[in-house]
Amino acid sequence: MSEGDESNSDEQGYVYYRDRPNWKDIEPIPQDDGPNPVVQIAYTDKFKDVYDYLRAVIRKGEKTERVLELTMDAIECNPANYTVWHYRREVLQELKKDLKSELEFAEETVLNEPKNYQVWYHRQKLVEWSNDPSRELYLTAEVFKDDSKNYHAWQHRQWTIRTYGLWSNELEFVDGLLKEDFRNNSAWNQRYFVIINTTGYTEEVVKNEVKYVIDFIKVAPNNESAWNYLTGILKGGRISDHEPVLKLIDSLRSQHVPSPFLLSTMIDVYEEEVANGKKESLEKAVKICEELGSKIDPVRKRYWEYTSRRLISAYGPLDST
């Protein structure tokens, strides 16, 4: 970040662009707020100064060292402004800059502004240009320490893994995250992402995954993410073919765990049974729907009523005896 030194980022040391001798040749362009401009008192002075000069250089198409410095100040004032980032990349390319220091700048900015999409996109472009993904897994892991569900960071990580084939240690990484927080939906999603793109969900893999997720459900039977993962990987097949799932259901049910996810999966199992000719399971399923709608999950009452109606119209009528 050497170019930025003379215009130190703290407000006291900052020299306005309008006061810099080496910017005398540029006529700043103020923001155009339409036909009735109002006095712009509430802009911070620095913000206005930087952006007035930025507009001027963009209009002029100037791509020089001093513009790199200016864009850095502009990014600091407003990192969400995507035009600045884009223009900075154009300057970097024009000047054929060494990307190493830019990667460092991007890393620092990502760590300071992990929720800013523009920074991540900038980072991705730099990795692409330098063909060097060596720090991305580390960098995203750093971001997850503070925010393990950061959507941009996950997207960046998936992009890196997919683009450079870095699959080999990812399941281990995901396992670590899930052990820290088994409700981390992003991590469950990543687990699916890795498996579907490597081994695929073969019979063997499904078996192992069922075992894996069941251990987490036992600890927290109301964990939506784990249940969604379980039912997600069993979709297309039959839940009742998986002995460990049936055992899990029995054991949680005998402890009277009031988990809508558990009960919803029970309904699925009963539905499979009815479809297989076991008529009496229909009533059991309908009873659970009633229990859910009236006691356990009244917020979603209408959903449970619908499920009950759907089952009866598909497999009914109920034996009234």
């Binding site: 036909p35 509430a42 802009y43 969400a80 569900k149 997600g232 919803s264």
Partner: protein
């Protein structure tokens, strides 16, 4: 079960139980006029979208007259980039699909589409479609299901869906469907209520809702409701007013809006009003902004509040405006 749930508590403030219509109108009116406000300047890069949020909010509460139509249309038209056919978010920025949709929504709202060269816009949008059917937001090339929605919605509003490959658009969106029935930004990325809305909205426009497993998706969507009544965008995230729109609109498109508890959600949205300044915030007690103000009002409209005009589920414009266009799209029934 003592399971920890990430949620908020609603303040006990009876004064927030009624809809503060006049306050909201004056909040939006002053927001658009205070061009010297720092918040206003900081959001220059999304100005045209900001104008769309403000105008639609005002129209929904019958106060559109309080906005300066001529000035706004002049400004929006000054953001049109004749070279590409796209709209810039503000003068001196680059054109992008996000702002092109917002600009078209504004022009439709003001019944002023005749001001623009439709063919130029159609050409801008159609050039952004990729061979796999996805859309990038601008010529620099990021793909996102949000941009699929922006493209399809823009073309649909202009009556020019024929300009892109619908079959491929649908294929790409389908490839973003996850094991939980939801949708993410690109294939493999986590389900997120905002992206679900974009994908479901796109499929509705393409009349291909058959792609969705409506029961599974509906259950995932109604699971977004927390004990406070608010809706979150992903599991284990805090509730947020803008999700009342993304989730509700998605549920409505697939005919399942009644699967959530409307009364509790109404209470949550009401509690995010600011009774001093007007406007809605993301969560009770936070700072208000035009974005959450629009989606708060639009959410309440979907929930059946009679003080607010009917809102169109797909285009997030007043229903009477969409009816004028006689658009064709698909909605499911339970």
């Amino acid at each position: 079960m003592g399971t920890p749930v990430k949620d908020v508590e609603l303040p006990d403030r009876p004064e927030l139980q009624e809809l503060l219509l006049e306050k909201h109108a004056s909040y939006i009116e002053t927001f658009e006029k205070n061009k010297d406000d720092l918040d206003y300047c900081m959001t220059e890069f999304l100005r045209v979208s900001g104008i769309y949020w403000c105008l639609t909010a005002m129209d929904l509460i019958g106060q559109l007259d309080r906005m300066n139509k001529t000035e706004i249309l002049d400004y929006v038209m000054s953001c049109f980039d004749k070279d590409t056919g796209g709209f810039r978010p503000a003068v001196n920025h680059d054109p992008h699909l996000l702002y092109t949709l917002s600009a078209v929504q504004i022009l439709i709202l003001y019944d002023s589409v005749s001001l623009i060269d439709k063919d130029r816009i159609v050409s801008f949008v159609s050039k952004l479609q990729q061979p796999d059917g996805s859309f990038v937001g601008d010529r620099w090339g990021e793909v996102d299901t949000r941009f699929s929605f922006c493209a399809l919605a823009t073309l649909s509003l202009l009556g020019r869906l024929d300009a892109v490959d619908i079959e491929k658009s649908v294929q790409f969106i389908s490839s973003c469907m996850n094991f939980d029935g939801g949708f993410g930004v690109i294939p493999g990325s986590e389900s997120h209520a905002g992206q679900v809305y974009c994908c479901v909205g796109s499929l509705a426009i393409c009349k291909r809702l058959d792609v969705i497993n409506a029961d599974q998706l509906g259950w995932w969507l109604c699971e977004r409701q927390l004990p406070s009544g608010g809706l979150n965008g992903r599991p284990e995230k805090l509730p947020d007013v803008c999700y009342s729109w993304w989730v509700l609109a998605s549920l409505s498109i697939i005919g399942r809006i009644h699967w959530i508890d409307k009364e509790r959600l109404t209470q949550f949205i009401m509690a995010t009003q600011d009774d001093e300044t007007g406007g809605f915030s993301d969560r009770p007690g936070d700072m208000v902004d035009p974005f959450h103000t629009l989606f708060g009002l639009a959410g309440l409209s979907l929930l059946g509040n009679r003080q607010i005009k009917g809102v169109n589920l797909i285009f997030c414009l007043p229903q009477n405006v969409i009816e004028r266009l006689e658009l064709d799209y698909e909605l499911l029934k339970e």
